[in-house]
């Protein structure tokens, strides 16, 4: 039971895919100008990662090891195309804002990394939880960065005004360097608080 719980909670903090492993930061930087895009991106990644982990785990005893990674990529790519098509049909405006970044989930190291590191050698139930845990870890950071950027950049949070109308907005937060700064601060704070990384 404790081990199962750890599968979910580990990626949230101690083994967070973004802040500890520093994977998948391409999309974390690109789609975090606003909460709305970050939220949809987090949902898209959650859908892809949990189902790819589940499918690959179900197939793990049949996948010939020589073509293992090609099969993993095929599964992930198919899932990403499905998510992209669904977004285009139901959330047209957002899918345009997310543009190529949904398609780039295929190359998101977190998805491939979890398939290789976990799903290929663990039973479906655990793999599903691992996928969910890592998606949540990714989502939490994405939403934190997006909160910081939207509040500093536009004075709003999820489209609602939180700072006075007079606030002009900070251009830096809207551009990529703002994302780097905020992500850097989050990593710094987390590593200081958890004290897991000490220089020898």
């Amino acid at each position: 039971m404790a081990a199962t719980k750890k599968i979910i909670t580990d990626p949230l903090s101690d083994n967070n895919p973004i802040t500890i492993q520093v994977l998948g930061i391409c999309s974390a930087l690109a789609v975090t100008v606003q909460m709305e895009t970050a939220f949809v991106m987090a949902c898209a990644l959650t859908a892809v990662l949990t189902s790819s982990n589940l499918i690959i785990s179900l197939l793990r005893n049949y996948i010939p090891s020589r073509i293992r990674m090609i099969v993993e990529v095929s599964v992930i790519a198919s899932l990403v195309v499905i998510v992209d098509q669904v977004l285009r049909a139901f959330l047209f405006e957002l899918s345009r804002q997310l543009s190529i970044f949904v398609g780039l989930i295929i190359t998101n190291c977190i998805v491939m990394g979890r398939a290789e590191a976990f799903a290929i050698q663990n039973p479906p139930g655990k793999s599903l939880l691992d996928g969910l845990g890592n998606s949540l870890g990714y989502s939490v950071i994405l939403l934190l960065v997006a909160s910081g950027r939207e509040i500093l950049g536009a004075g709003t949070w999820y489209g609602m005004r939180v700072l006075p109308e007079a606030y002009m907005g900070n251009g830096l937060a809207v551009l990529a360097p703002g994302a780097f700064l905020i992500l850097g601060i989050i990593i710094w704070v987390q590593r200081t608080v958890t004290n897991n990384f000490k220089d020898d």
Partner: protein, 236 residues
């Protein structure tokens, strides 16, 4: 072929087949909805060019039904041929792209045409930029412009779709002294080059010279195409 190889090929083929059938089914199933969204987006952008407020007070887009309703009650679409004469041909996307057909949207109130809008598109730096341009009744002054699809660099050329850029076009002229004028997107700002202002120029986007030059060129060229029809209206 060895047993293991045969298994490997069978597995690979099964995966490929399953994935492709699944994807085809989903793409086919969602096509109608996606096309409806694209069509709605086109109409929405015509409305934006005409200066209709397409956002409610919370900043959300108005619904598809409302767009259709405004479109039905105010806008008439006519098709011109390449020489600017009105035709009865059905709109054909390929002919429109090749400029053999020129669609023109008329904004009518009480049976009178108040504004005109047409699609305009052309090369930026990396991509084709698509938009709509609306003109006032005088067939010279820009009433509004919108760029809704492009693949320019976010933060640089990608700023073409931002309000601060498109808002500048309102009130500028594409036609002066009886003929079409070459429009300009000025790097460094209009006021630095033309201290007295210039009715045929807007401020460029820093770091996006080529995008700006492209926009200025294609809106001027598209205006000239439609101007053949406008001359008929002016003459009448």
């Amino acid at each position: 072929m060895q047993q293991a190889d045969r298994q490997l090929v069978t597995f690979a083929l099964t995966i490929c087949l399953t994935c492709s059938i699944l994807l085809s089914a989903i793409a086919a199933g969602l096509r109608d909805r996606q096309e409806r969204e694209v069509e709605l987006d086109r109409k929405m952008n015509v409305l934006i060019a005409f200066g209709v407020d397409t956002r409610d007070e919370r900043g959300r887009r108005i619904s598809g039904e409302e767009v259709d309703a405004i479109f039905a009650s105010n806008i008439r679409e006519i098709i011109l041929d390449a020489d600017g004469n009105q035709t009865d041909e059905e709109p054909d996307p390929v002919a429109i792209r090749e400029r053999r057909q020129l669609p023109l949207y008329l904004w009518e109130e009480d049976g009178e045409v108040k504004r005109y809008a047409f699609p305009t598109s052309g090369q930026g730096l990396w991509s084709t930029i698509y938009g709509f341009l609306a003109l006032e009744r005088d067939l010279a002054t820009i009433a509004g412009i919108t760029f809704f699809r492009h693949g320019e660099t976010p933060g640089l050329g990608g700023e073409v779709d931002r309000d601060w850029f498109t808002d500048q076009f309102r009130g500028k002229k594409l036609f002066d002294d009886g003929e079409p004028v070459q429009f300009r997107v000025v790097q460094g700002g209009v006021s630095s080059r033309y201290p007295d202002g210039n009715p045929h120029a807007v401020d460029g986007i820093s770091g996006a010279t080529v995008t700006g030059v492209g926009v200025a060129r294609f809106i001027s060229e598209d205006f000239k195409r439609y101007n053949q029809f406008f001359e008929q209206i002016r003459g009448a």
